[in-house]
Symmetry: C2
């Protein structure tokens, strides 16, 4: 094997379901000098990360910090720490990530009941209630922003039903955190996890989690050890807390990146950032619809940072996405599961939620349709422009 040269990745515009566009300040932070994981200067950085994370997550929860893995590690962390073998768990499934939660919960030994919804739809309280069937559960698990379909879930409905079945509410905030309103305390969320590579606009590799006092009490009252040593919060919280007890070596440089991305969110302001995601999401949809591309999700339950749209009849999905990547350096996402091959997922997340992104995406998509003989005959920037002008 000849020795590869150093990596020099092409500059892409990442408008898929994540990783998202990264602010250069975040990339620059990654490259700062590595500190030891017990260095007093690093402990200050850890405390700052926790403080900023609490603000961004809208919580006072003591147990709030990033796990040393990607979003799926955060999902597994929440489940394996709260579940003991035989515990009854209700999982709401309307996409890939609800499906995954059910699978992870089963592997943790839970007795899993699922309540299913059509992909592309959210759950009402009545639908969740019907799924619960009058039984009690230890956890109700639901996805706030289903990355596979672009659906936003009303958490008030989930909290109501969780109360009715004596359950803690566990929420996947991977794609909502930093792009939609996430106020864990106000929303009564007991446990939540997210990922860095969506609306936080940081490279993938960390998963912020938060446990309410009720969830922390369940953790401390466990009768069996957490099945995962690596994800055992009873030990990891001793490192992130005042003890600073060594558990595993924290991913130092990734934490520099997260520190900077949280800082940029607070500099912008959470409200302003959420409004920005909403504005550009609407402009994108207006442009897509003007070209005849139909959103997969009804307007009232559509995510702002991630739009799922049907691939038009006669358009080859793979060819179109390769065209976007090769001609314009633009990445958008394909569909997953039943949506593979027939759906595009367009992310306007964090630093990617800009008029520049919307413009590039609409213009390039128009060219991709034209490339396959389907010139839409309208300039989608006009419809998007009307949103910006209004």
């Amino acid at each position: 094997m000849t020795l590869p040269s150093s990596v020099h990745p092409p500059q892409r515009v990442l408008l898929g379901p994540g990783p998202s566009v990264i602010d250069p300040a975040v990339l620059s932070a990654l490259a700062r000098p590595t500190l030891g994981h017990l260095d007093p200067a690093f402990l200050v950085i850890m405390d700052e990360v926790r403080g900023m994370l609490r603000q961004v997550m809208g919580t006072e929860n003591e147990l709030t910090f990033p796990m040393s893995g990607t979003g799926s590690a955060g999902m597994e962390t929440c489940l394996v720490n709260l579940i003991e073998p035989g515990d009854p768990v209700l999982v709401a499934v309307n996409g890939v990530f609800g499906t995954r939660m059910a699978e992870v919960a089963r592997r943790a030994g839970a007795e899993v009941t699922t309540v299913e919804q059509t992909w592309g739809r959210s759950f009402s309280a009545d639908e969740l209630r019907a799924g619960a069937g009058g039984k009690s559960f230890k956890l109700l698990c639901i996805v706030h922003a289903e990355t596979s379909t672009g659906v936003l879930q009303d958490l008030a409905a989930a909290r109501t039903v969780a109360d009715e079945c004596d359950a803690l509410l566990l929420v996947d905030c991977v794609t909502s955190l930093g792009g939609h309103a996430v106020h864990l305390d106000d929303m009564g969320v007991d446990a939540a996890y997210s990922g860095t590579q969506k609306c936080l606009s940081c490279p993938p590799g960390l998963s912020p989690i938060s446990f309410s006092p009720r969830a922390s009490a369940v953790l401390s009252e466990r009768k069996t050890p957490v099945q995962s040593w690596y994800l055992d919060l009873s030990m990891i919280s001793n490192y992130w807390g005042s003890d600073r007890a060594y558990h595993h070596t924290a991913p130092i440089n990734m934490l520099y990146g997260l520190h900077e991305s949280l800082r940029l969110i607070l500099v912008e302001g959470l409200e302003e950032r959420i409004a920005r995601h909403a504005l550009h999401g609407r402009a994108l949809v207006a442009g897509l619809e003007s070209m005849g591309l139909a959103p997969r999700v009804a307007a009232e339950e559509r995510l702002a940072p991630l739009t799922a749209v049907a691939v038009p009849q006669g358009i080859d999905d793979g060819r179109a996405r390769s065209f976007l990547l090769n001609q314009f350096g633009l990445e958008i996402g394909g569909g997953l599961g039943p949506m593979a091959g027939n759906t595009w997922r367009i992310g306007l997340m964090g630093a990617g939620a800009t008029r520049h992104s919307v413009t590039l995406c609409l213009a390039a998509l128009r060219a991709a349709l034209t490339d396959q003989g389907q010139d839409p005959g309208v300039d989608p920037l006009m419809a998007a422009g009307e949103i910006y002008a209004s």
Copy 2:
């Protein structure tokens, strides 16, 4: 809370048990533009990482790639993928990381037998054989380079006893990979894990693993699902293999860093790099001994990249390490478990294994002893210099 400023970590010289000194080229690679995890340009980088990793690990194993977590995630990966509930497992314990393997194996449902050795000593074949007690095991787990004590284990002894008890050989190579000879295939290792923040000289956050065909067969013949979804190699290998099936979003920028650190190892040459670690390790020990600091481990089983040395009588451990950090920007490690407070661990790993590091460390340690009224009366650079001159 006032908004923190961007992180500007002080420049430390990391001569503890890891993270280690990082080459600026590796830090620079971390900050390159993020690609999507299914981008064709990223798939090339993944293949290059796998190819280089196989060379550095001395293996042809198909199942060889970095896990998306730190070294402990790699440990857990190997154990949960190979263990099914009730499996008998033999774990050799002579420090923190053997202890941890036993604990992780228990949580995976194994029937764990431990064979214990004094901390600071390695195992002979006879000692392992006595621990096996004539029984058969599914796995024999042992640490190649015990980071908590500085002991190097002879793997031939472990392979012999593993054969006698029909066991796969699982080896912790966290601190040996890139600093000692690690030839998984020649050594008959069936499963191994490492970490990026030791002799690979990359920031913490990834854990290279490798499974032999025999270990892969055990994985594919499992009757129960792997208890961890995040660490399930049967799925992850589909992403790193030719299917490229999405499992979790790979930590893109960390993989850029690992790519560069592996490249630098192969540019230097594995043999040359191992010789370099041996040379500077010897020079460090000569200097330490000239000041009356006694190594914890006998010369014949002492690690080159990590030297454990007794804290002299009358010297306050915490005060000395704070002095080194504050006066010289130098980090060395304290002891763990029974060695807490009475042992220093000095790492000369990867880019940190240089005469510059040895010089700084010896001169600064001398000053730290003098600061506590114990001027050793000799210049330790003389003894180190004799090693370099010979």
